[in-house]
């Protein structure tokens, strides 16, 4: 692993060559007791919880909008999206600002743990009967010591219909 650290991991390459040895950098976060991970290249920044402005008649999973340095971006409660039990925000609650298909969206997560570097060959395709989650946006499951990390494909996290809801239906 040491000799490979010089090379910056390229996520796209990693995507294409899943199975081939490559280092991936992942941002891990928790929802309840489960650990999830996102490709670091999809993550723009991680912020503390701020006050969220509710948007009338917005789709259920859209929590509202926030001011991100002068830009107004929508915030999605990922718990709602995954149909998990709702939870009050704590001091650990974070907003992960991601770029999904060219759009900037904030995701509310319980806490952000760390940035992981793992070899792509430790990531395995999702088992066929994986938990309660819809497996489409699960890229795989990473095994690290005794931890199991669910790697999300952020681009697939919203269905086309949900994208349309977030996007302008006006224009």
């Amino acid at each position: 692993m040491e000799q490979e650290t010089v090379k910056m991991p390229d996520s796209k390459k990693a995507d294409e060559n899943a199975g081939v040895d490559a280092i991936m950098q992942l941002v891990t976060f928790t929802l309840g007791s489960e650990e999830f991970a996102l490709d670091i290249l999809k993550v723009q920044e991680i912020n503390r919880m701020v006050e969220i402005t509710k948007v009338p008649k917005a789709p259920n999973f859209v929590e509202g909008v926030i001011n991100l340095r002068g830009k107004v971006i929508p915030i999605v409660d990922i718990r709602k999206k995954f149909h998990l039990n709702l939870k009050e925000s704590t001091k650990d609650t974070r907003i992960i600002v991601v770029n999904i298909l060219g759009k900037t969206i904030g995701l509310i997560v319980d806490s952000v743990s760390e940035v992981l570097r793992i070899n792509s060959n430790t990531i395995q395709p999702p088992p066929p009967l994986v938990a309660s989650l819809d497996s489409d946006y699960i890229k795989g499951v990473g095994k690290l010591d005794d931890r199991l990390i669910i790697l999300l494909d952020i681009d697939k996290i919203f269905t086309a219909g949900e994208h349309n809801l977030i996007e302008s239906s006006v224009k």
């Binding site: 009338p56 008649k57 929508p74 759009k103 006006v170």
Partner: protein, 736 residues
């Protein structure tokens, strides 16, 4: 073939020419009223000439020919040789139209396009030649008498003082690097003015001025523009004549050299420079005596002054750069928008600092640093406000830009309809934001067309009604606080609410019952309904029922308000109230349950505090009686389904207010009366927080499928506040 720099030059030309043509058509209408206004004629002539000159320089031959023909007429008009007739005016205006079309074409394609102008040129030439043959001949003679003719260097948009063959002029024209035609110019020194039209075959050879082409001599120009008295001119000409004879030989040498090496002209001419500087100097002084020179506006460069400058270093530059009165620059609107956005951010930051400062003041009163902070903040406040204003001003344009096309329109339409109409324009210097300017053009066209077509009666009808024969349309603009009020009024026959009701029912826009129940004022608003027209027949001018719909849509887009007043038999008055700018707006901050929203203040007519008990229900719609007019109400808490009502099933929403009303019957509520275009509704809210100036942030891609929110803004404390879209609120209420 056209590279980038050329494109830029052509772009500049197109911009300038279109602006000139704009002002030209306005000037022409003015001229028709005052055909003897010499100053006006001169202005028109100069504008036409500038267009011709620039076009010639860029090689748009067709354009030059057409402009030239028009210029011939103008020149003769100016010299009082012919009189302006209505027929002539029609052709001149038509010429302007063709020129505009050609220039638009150049803008789009970079080519002149195939315009067949033969017919109009022939007509123009005929008009110009009319009763003028004798004078033309005389003119020719005078030209021959004066051997020391001036030259009219149109190619450079510039009068080159080629005082006959003086080397001064030689240098002047040749050293203009942009001139691709140096060679033929030198060949044609004796052919003077013609030389500036590039690639003109007739130019070669040293023949005298072609009599048909009435290009003016510099001497004439100086006289006509009152730059020189005839005495001064003849004095200078005499001097020149002598000088010229002595120079003739060295001149010829120069010419040969020039042919071999055009660019080296400057060096070749240095020997001659000294001899002529004196003359040029004299001339310059004379010219400077009349500082107002020929330029009517900064757009038209002062050609004489620019050209006569004897300093060699000036002549190396492009004439546009040397023009001494360049007071404007063209800036890409995108750049301005960028600055505007940055200022917007700055305003937000200022608001936040302001907020923190006032909190600190409360927390640590009497503290030295707090005091200083407050002082600094209020200073910052002043500066940002000024900056914001200054940036906004860069985007401001006089409403004249839109108004200027109306005299022509009124003239053409009234002629077509056989009506006599006088258009009075007031306040055309009123400035407003570019984006607003762009949107109000079309609505105003429709409003004025309407006044001409429907409002003003035929002359005989007017006399019968005891009015003056000619109808009047008033178009005015004025500032009122942060708004601009544009008013279109006429003294025509006015609108009859009863007829409007009848027509609306006929067209199936409303039913009988509604027709009977709406007030006269609401009946007037019917004209804005799409498809509404009082005309039974569709004519070229009106009758499709589209125009007023356009008015409404555009005004709505700008968050403007339309007010109609009309008295049968006396005329109509349509008042548009528009915001000055669209990026930074004043809002009314309101609260519903725990949520805060902003309503654009320019849509707000008034706010009321009323007891719940005064809300009545008509047809399951909540209304109040406001000064004898019925105002429909929209409860924001229901519409936005915030707070408690969120969990209620939608179908029971209709019954909810009734239940709420009983429980709250003693309570008072706030009603914000909002208006958009011609409609008014009341919005029931829980709290009024006050006014705040906000910068609109587009929600961009994130609309969440709901139109009730038009954008968002960030308030002083950094929170996002959503801005309500009044148009869709009104829609919601109408659909119920």
């Amino acid at each position: 073939m056209i590279d980038d720099s050329m494109k830029e030059i052509i772009n500049d030309f197109v911009q300038e020419a279109l602006e000139l043509l704009d002002s030209l058509s306005e000037n022409f209408i003015e001229l028709e009223k005052n055909p003897d206004d010499k100053e006006l004629l001169n202005t028109i002539f100069r504008a036409a000439h500038t267009i011709k000159g620039s076009a010639g320089f860029l090689g748009f031959q067709n354009l030059v020919e057409l402009a030239h023909s028009a210029e011939n007429i103008l020149n003769r008009l100016r010299q009082g040789e012919i009189k302006l007739t209505s027929d002539m005016m029609d052709y001149l205006l038509k010429t302007m139209d063709i020129l505009t079309a050609m220039i638009r074409n150049i803008n789009d394609t970079g080519e002149e396009g195939n315009f067949d102008n033969e017919e109009i040129i022939r007509k123009l030439n005929m008009l110009a030649a009319d009763e003028g043959t004798e004078e033309a001949a005389a003119e020719q003679r005078t030209e021959e008498i004066k051997p020391a003719e001036g030259n009219f260097g149109t190619a450079n948009n510039n009068i080159s003082p080629q005082e006959a063959e003086s080397s001064e002029s030689n240098k002047n024209t040749d050293s203009n690097i942009t001139n691709a035609n140096t060679n033929s110019k030198n060949d044609n020194k004796k052919n003077t003015a013609e030389s500036s039209i590039p690639a003109d075959g007739s130019n070669t050879g040293g023949e005298k001025n072609h009599p048909k082409r009435k290009v003016r001599n510099l001497g004439d120009i100086l006289l006509e523009d009152n730059l020189m008295s005839p005495d001064e001119l003849s004095q200078i000409l005499k001097e020149k004549e002598e000088e010229e004879k002595t120079e003739e030989k060295s001149e010829e040498k120069n010419e040969q050299k020039n042919e071999q090496k055009e660019d080296a002209n400057k060096i070749n001419n240095t020997e001659n420079l000294n001899e002529t500087v004196k003359t040029a100097e004299t001339e310059k002084q004379t010219v400077n005596k009349v500082p107002q020179a020929p330029a009517a506006s900064p757009e038209i460069k002062k050609p004489v002054l620019a050209a006569v400058q004897p300093q060699p270093q000036m002549q190396q530059m492009h004439p546009a750069v040397t023009a001494p009165v360049e007071t404007t620059i063209r800036v890409d609107v995108e750049r301005l928008d960028n600055v505007m956005n940055l200022v917007g951010e700055l305003v937000l930051s200022r608001n936040r600092i302001f907020n923190i400062a006032s909190k600190l003041e409360l927390k640590y009163p009497e503290d030295e640093f707090t005091d200083t902070l407050i002082e600094v903040v209020s200073n910052l406040n002043l500066i940002t406000t000024d900056l914001q204003l200054a940036v906004m001003k860069t985007r401001m344009q006089p409403v004249k830009k839109v108004f200027s096309k109306f005299p022509r329109m009124v003239r053409d339409l009234s002629k077509e309809l056989g009506k006599e109409i006088e258009l009075n324009i007031a306040g055309e210097e009123t400035e407003l934001d570019k984006s607003v300017i762009e949107e109000i053009g079309d609505p105003l066209v429709h409003l004025i067309r309407n006044s001409i077509d429907h409002g003003i009666e035929m002359p005989e009808d007017r006399i019968k009604a005891g009015k003056s024969k000619a109808g009047t349309i008033n178009l005015s603009a004025e500032h009122e606080g942060n708004y601009i009020i544009i008013e279109v009024s006429d003294d025509g026959k006015g609108m009859d609410p009863d007829i409007l009701r009848k027509k609306a029912v006929e067209k199936g826009l409303i039913d009988d019952k509604t027709a009977a129940s709406i007030s006269d004022k609401d009946a007037l608003s019917l004209i804005f309904a799409p498809g509404f027209s009082t005309k039974d027949k569709v004519t070229e001018i009106s009758g499709r029922g589209v125009g007023m719909d356009v008015v409404k849509t555009n005004i709505q887009k700008l968050n403007g308000i339309i007010d109609i007043e009309s008295e049968k038999g006396k005329g109509s008055d349509i008042i548009l109230k528009l915001p000055l700018t669209v990026a930074i707006i004043q809002t009314l901050i309101i609260g519903v349950e725990d949520e805060v929203f902003a309503i654009p203040l320019n849509s707000v007519v008034e706010t009321l505090r009323i007891p719940e008990s005064s809300i009545q229900t008509i047809d399951n719609h909540e209304v109040i009686n406001l000064r004898k007019s019925v105002l429909s109400l929209l409860r924001l808490s229901e519409e936005f389904s915030v707070g408690a009502s969120q969990n209620k099933p939608l179908q029971s929403a209709g019954n909810a207010p009734a239940a709420d009303k009983k429980a709250l019957s003693g309570k008072e509520v706030y009603v914000v009366v909002v208006a958009l275009a011609e409609k008014r509704i009341g919005i029931v809210v829980d709290t009024l927080y006050g006014q705040e100036e906000v910068v609109i942030k587009s929600l961009g891609d994130y609309q969440f499928g709901y139109k009730g929110i038009s954008g968002a803004t960030i308030t002083g404390d950094g929170k996002v506040v959503l801005i309500m879209d009044i148009a869709s609120m009104i829609d919601v209420l109408q659909k119920r």
